[in-house]
Symmetry: C2
Subunit: 241 residues, 2 copies
């Protein structure tokens, strides 16, 4: 029999992952180790040939442990588990509710969350607000903020996350604003520039990212990074000061 | 000229698809057949070289028919990427604006529309309202309507489409409500039952669908049917009585 285990990594590039485990890729015959890429996510697949499931596990485990020793900080999930599954599980465990305000990810975060059965237990609602007027009408982003910082800015991301959380009476607000391209980029704000914010009563955080690739890839990278930020904030104790 | 047709499959793995059509991949020269994968979807692309469009179609059609005979249950759309392109083009031409209220499609309609550059020109906003309270708070769906008909009903779909159009001051409202599964189905309202509505000042229409398949497949079928309904309504003259 053949058994595989896939580790999902975030916040690290494909080439650096390969560099960190190159020796393992080249020296291992059973199990084998292979990097997989695509959709803004890096994965490592461990594949063992064995007589039975237990033997496969006993071959996979030591290699997995070694990879976790080297890259543990970047591993966000194992197997077919995508990062939204991890976040979904954490939200369900915590009993916290989420509201999402998407600009450049355009509904992809809501779509990926609602691919998981029972998402309505924690997802209050998702708002896709592309235009500035929609961000003002639905989320309460101030016109002065657009004027001072532009729609793609930390200030707007934070007001979006705050606004969606408060207006939808959720525990957590999550927002994205950025330039998915191919048009709309300028030297100061190029295609791929994305701000992602999380807001709770006690905490506000915003991350700046500079993604590369096609429009749909930038949307996926944005969604992955948003789920990852949410995971980190939930792990660090969202409700503490 | 070269013409391609892409078939989108859901609920079946890439390797099984390849196995089912391997002979067609290897024996065909014109048209050619190639599997495409990525981002949770398997696609088959048929590409014909021909003198003109009609000749290309005549080459593509027999191969498509053979693939549908083998894999029809898993094909969720043909050129499915293109139906939102068609709708996008029609909206742009007409100068009409759109607001979307999604329940069972969970953000997928907004996501697919915003994969097209410039979607903000006609997409005012998209609201993902899973819960009844969110449908009431964001869209104004009446509590009596839920009580009388249930959340998955023509009446709720129509109130969602009306509500999102009026509240977001768009020319057209588009809504979905249904049971994507795997849980939540009952004999009277099984998994796959979906209502899709379109609203304008002059017109209200609602379609009932009964889709089959996995949760994500039902979401894609819902989005495809929603784009198709919108296309039909736009073609028939949305603003006439």
């Amino acid at each position: 029999m053949i058994k595989s285990r896939v580790l999902h990594l975030m916040g690290i590039g494909e080439s650096l992952v390969e560099e960190k485990v190159r020796d393992l890729i080249h020296t291992q015959a059973n199990p084998t180790l292979a990097p997989l890429a695509g959709c803004g996510e890096v994965r490592l697949r461990i594949t063992a040939k064995a007589e039975d499931d237990a033997q496969a596990d006993s071959r996979i485990s030591p290699l997995e442990a070694e990879i976790r020793r080297r890259l543990g900080d970047f591993i966000v999930g194992a197997d077919a588990q995508q990062i939204e599954n991890t976040v979904s599980h954490m939200l369900r465990e915590s009993g916290l509710t989420l509201a999402v305000a998407e600009s450049c990810s355009g509904g992809l975060i809501s779509h990926r969350l609602t691919n998981i059965p029972g998402a309505s237990d924690y997802l209050v609602a998702g708002l896709v607000c592309y235009s500035n007027p929609a961000k003002t009408a639905l989320l309460g982003v101030k016109e002065e903020t657009f004027a001072a910082h532009g729609a793609v800015s930390e200030a707007v991301a934070l007001e979006m996350a705050e606004g969606v959380r408060k207006r939808l009476k959720a525990d957590i607000g999550l927002s994205t604003t950025g330039i998915a391209g191919p048009t709309g980029g300028r030297p100061a704000k190029p295609v791929g520039l994305v701000y992602i914010a999380v807001s709770s009563v006690a905490k506000k955080v915003c991350e700046e990212h500079r993604f590369r690739g096609e429009r749909e890839s930038i949307k996926h990278q944005t969604a992955n990074a948003a789920f990852n930020l949410l995971r980190k904030v939930l792990e660090s104790g969202l409700l503490s000061q």
